[in-house]
């Protein structure tokens, strides 16, 4: 069977401006930064991004001016700070932010993954979260209905089916079978809702690994379009069982992201100033940094 291995540059070249991308990161864990950097290098613009909990991946794309719309449950960089670029863009109106909740984004992905056009939910009611959606850009995405069996009032959410789902995993084979080690937040339903699934893997293993532990396969190969092999592809965020988050680099980013000029300087130096993820890793600290962050095999961090 032909290998689905591609480089980040090759995959990003096939992503059109205006695409809806589902980002598989959660705050400072398993962010799809290898692809985010390449999206910035190739200046893919006018993007819609969706995610349950935004992190560095979203903040960078918004900071680079490439995002038109967000569909998200929330976001932060944990104790390192807020998603400053996202918040600034919401304040100026540069980005249209459809602010849901974690469960409602997850349910919307689930509907998309199941091929049903809407899904009922009992969250968001009687809140300003719903009010802002219903009276704003989300008005075409929510409806109300009484259950036809019980009469109970429900909110209905339109299904979300992204154009491309990007998920960073610990191990995949060349056909796209992949495993996520540790909690998987909304990655399964998020990926399976999308038209195209792109996997970024720390490690490539033979298919026989997946045949030995088939319960651990979270997305089977037949659904996957491309596999990008990128060790440290989520740096400076963490990948459980591979490496810890990089506190120093996260603090550096947060400091830069306080202003537009600052985030531009960060992007110029670390992303536009490097031609590949390997060069970025070198610039971000290279071998010494890698050794420091490498996970303890028992603890996973």
């Amino acid at each position: 069977m032909a290998s689905k291995l591609k480089t980040a540059a090759e995959v990003v070249a096939t992503i059109p401006d205006g695409a809806h991308l589902a980002l598989g990161g959660f705050a400072i864990a398993r962010n799809v930064l290898a692809v985010v950097h390449e999206l910035i290098r190739q200046r893919k613009c006018d993007l819609t991004l969706s995610q349950c909990v935004m992190g560095l991946d979203t903040d960078l794309l918004v900071g680079a001016g490439l995002v038109r719309r967000l569909m998200v449950g929330g976001g932060s960089l944990d104790r390192f700070g807020l998603v400053q670029c996202v918040n600034r863009a919401r304040e100026t109106g540069e980005v249209e932010s459809l602010d849901y909740t974690s469960l409602s984004i997850c349910f919307s992905y689930l509907a998309g993954a199941l091929g049903i056009s809407f899904i009922p939910i009992k969250s968001m009611m009687a809140s300003d979260v719903l009010d802002r959606l219903e009276h704003g850009p989300g008005r075409d995405l929510v409806r109300r209905m009484n259950c036809p069996f019980t009469g109970e009032p429900y909110l209905l959410l339109k299904a979300i089916q992204p154009d491309v789902s990007l998920v960073h995993v610990q191990v995949a084979d060349e056909q796209g079978n992949c495993q996520i080690h540790g909690p998987r937040w909304e990655n399964e339903e998020q990926a399976k809702a999308a038209q195209r699934i792109v996997i970024i893997a720390e490690e490539i293993a033979p298919t026989s690994l997946f045949q030995q532990h088939p319960t651990r396969t979270i997305i089977p190969a037949h659904r996957v379009e491309a596999v990008i092999h990128q060790p440290y592809g989520a740096h400076p965020t963490s990948v459980f069982s591979c490496y810890d988050y990089d506190s120093e680099h996260l603090k550096l980013y947060v400091e830069h992201a306080r202003t537009r000029e600052g985030v531009k300087r960060y992007i110029d130096e670390f992303i536009l100033g490097t031609r590949s993820h390997a060069e970025y890793i070198e610039k971000a600290g290279g071998t010494r940094m890698i050794e420091k962050l490498k996970a303890d095999p028992v603890l996973g961090y």
């Binding site: 992190g55 807020l82 974690s102």
Partner: protein, 253 residues
Amino acid sequence: MEPVRTNEIMAVAGARELRDGETVVVGLGLPQVACVLARRTHAPGLTALLEIGVVNTNPIDTPVGLADSRIFHGATCWSGFLDILGMNLHRGVVDVGFLGALEIDRFGNINTTLLKDDTGKTKFFNGSAGGNDVASLAKRVIVIMRHEKRKLPAAVAHITSPGFAGGKSRAELGLRGGGPHRIITDMAVLGFHPETRQAMIVSVHPGIRVEQVRENTGFPLLDAESVPVTPEPASEELRLLREEIDPKRVYLG
């Protein structure tokens, strides 16, 4: 023994709100500390769920947030949002939701989304994440936060996570969960009046006067008949907190 600190009083008050055998959805910080303390004392059968997909974490190193691998350690199950917030919370089996807040008002409505400054300019924050879901669906909600007037306005700038919005009952609001039950602050424990659904003082911490609590609240607080003092932590609770649960005082301060 070292004198008791306010965060320790808050952690213990939080732990004592939890009953053995209950299922709790919890965020990081003092709520997590309270859960661990409860499991080590009167509630060994407590189940703590983290929204990202962690059941009964047993961390040995202090995490910086929910996305820190340290919080995955020793769990009995790793899953995701669909399991925790869907098949537990939405399903209706979560007894307690432990939330943080930028602001909370007299009807227990929580704001984690935005604040407006005096010029009317809006500043955005973390948003809901799982907060709205928990406030909508948990059987009862407990908030732990600092007691400051600006954090306790008469009405929050934005209802991210509803309490008794507009003073209405949960049934009127169409919300399945029971709503806010306790606000634990560094000055007092607040509850909600069963009929008016407004915040009231349940107890005041040792050394704090009722007047201080009122001065630092942005709305009139209903009294209980008489105002008890929040029970002091027991020496075993303090020992557990200081020596085993948060020895580096990352959350206990």
